[in-house]
Structures are given as C-alpha cells and as structure tokens.
Amino acid sequence: MLGGSRKIFVIVGVLALLIAVAVAWQWPRQPEIPSYLNQLGGDFELQSVNGKVRLSDFQGKVALVYFGYAHCPDICPSALTLIGNTIRQLDSEQQQQVQSLFISLDPRRDTPESLKGYAAFFQADMLGLTDSPKHLQTVADLWRVDYHVPDEPADSNYAVAHSNFIYLVNPAGKVAALFDERASNNDIAAAIVQWLD
C-alpha cells in the first residue's frame, strides 16, 4: 500500500509521462531518409575561385549538389536551371537557408575561375567547384557518380557522360533525397521546405 506522498509522486509521474508522450506524438518529425541513400554522400573538400570549400561548411543549411560539366549544352543547363528556379520560388528567409553547389567533372576545360560566372548565372549564390581528376574521382565514388571524361584535347568539343542527379543534402550533411530529370521545381521545393526550420 503506497503512502500519501508517494501516491502523489506516482500520479504526477504518470501524468508527466502521458504529457511527454502526447507532446512527442504531436512534435513535427523530421522527414525520413530512404535507407538506400545511407550508402552515398559524405563530406568533401573541393576548389572554388575563392579557395577550398567543404560541404560541411554548409551544415545547418540544405544543400543542393549537382555533378556535371560546363560545356554541356542540354542536361546540365536544364538541371542547374531547375535548381535556380526551385530556390527562387522559396521565400527570402528560406532562400538564405539553401546553398547550391555545381561540381564540374571536367577540370581540363572548367577552372574555378570559369565556373564562378557559370554557376552564378543559374543561381546567385551557386558555387562552382572542381579539383584534380584524381580527387574528383574519389568524391564521385563516395557520391556514386558514374561518369567518363574522354581522353581528348580541350578544343575537341568532347562530351562527358555523367549521372544526372540533383542531390538534396539535409542540414546534418546527409543526402536525404535524389532528383532526376523528371523532377519539377515544386517537387524539390517541397522536399527542401521539410528540412527547414
């Protein structure tokens, strides 16, 4: 048989537990990340015109990452235009919480200098990044980017075949979603907003 004060403790304790469960149930949950995305992504360090840039520099923000090359006439401009259009349809506070990154797999023709203007055309804050072929291969492997740069001279107008995905990275630095050529700006904007405060 419980004493009077102990009874009160138990009642208060049970009530507190019930309240905590009720609050947790209502608390907005973070979106789930599909398990197949756990195997790709990770921090990287690449060159921009203003120096080294790490993905982890943008922790706390949503990052949109795209791998391509600047001499691409159709696919890359389409994807980068989609990224820019998506970010611009967010309100100004939301835009401040998103960072777009364009990584060129073609350093023979694309330099950090040339990528600055190229990226900024699609979205004002988009960073254009590249690095040595060897380092790019390391990053591409981590991000499961499948690509091939032909061994041809820079002035030969070669094409670079590459995976065509827009990676959405959440504020914790994890790849949380992938979008392909069928995605719309509404799809991506909706996914971004889920991760913002």
Binding site: P73, D74, I75, N85, Y118, E181
Partner: protein
Amino acid sequence: MQRFAHFTSILGILIISGFCGVSAQANDDDLAITNGLIRLPPPGSQTAAAYLDIENHRNTDVCLMSITTDIAALPMIHQTIHDNGKSSMRETTQLTIPAHGSLQLQPGGMHIMLMNLEQPLLVDEDIYFNLHFSDGTTKSTVLKVKDMRENMDATHSNMDRSSHFHDGMVHQH
C-alpha cells in the same frame, strides 16, 4: 549480272526513299516548324542548345538531314540518353519525321547542339536557321534566344544581408 546489279541499286534507292522521302513537294507549308527557341547560355559559354518541333503534314516520311546557321559552324543534332541514371549525348543524323507526324527536339530529349558560337547570344535575339531535308527542301526558320530561368526578380542572395525591399512582382520570362 549487270541487270541484277541495276535492279538491286534501284531497289536500294526505293528502300531509302521509303525511309526518307526524296521526291520534291510543291507545297511549302507542308513542313511546319514550331516551338523553337535557343536556350540562353551563361555569359562566355561557347556552347548552346536549340530546340524546335517539326510537323510533317505530307503523306510521305521525310528526313531532317542537316541544319545550318551563321552562329555556329557545325550544328549537330544530339539525342540525350538517360540510362540507369547516367546521361550522355549521341549525335543523330537523318532524323525521320513520319508522314502526318512530328519530331520534337526539346530539353532532356533531342536538341540541336551549337558549339564554338561565333558570337555571344542576347536574350530575345532572333537567329536564323536553315533546316535541310531529304527531298532537297530547305526550310528557313527564326529561333529566339530565350532565358529559361524563372523568377529572376525573386533572387535573394546570401550575400545581400541588407533589408532590400523587392516589389514582390514575379516576372516570367
């Protein structure tokens, strides 16, 4: 033997003309070019893509053989291929436009690749193209340079920390 060779070469010509119409058509309106534009590339870019649709109102197939323009020496038609997440381009020649059918060259699919641009492209600029078909017809068309970015007035740069009041208008280009 000679008669046989003659026969097979005539047969060969007939077969080819079945895929790409070779007989000249009198009516100039039977091939229509619509939905054409050139995607405005980033400043300094030497590569751009042009898109258009071709409608064939004829009773016979016809092939698009080549395209010429002053702004690029060798426009090529490319097919974008999406294969298990990996995208690449493949040059395509002799594109068939079926009788009473159409051919679409649009983003993500086929496009006209313009390389080594002879001049920078300006928004709303009119660029002339000649499309050369298998029957000897040449159709001229004008494609406008279009900025395919949207909501450019809604740009809020992370660099721009001052409280900028934008008029709230969204301008569609």
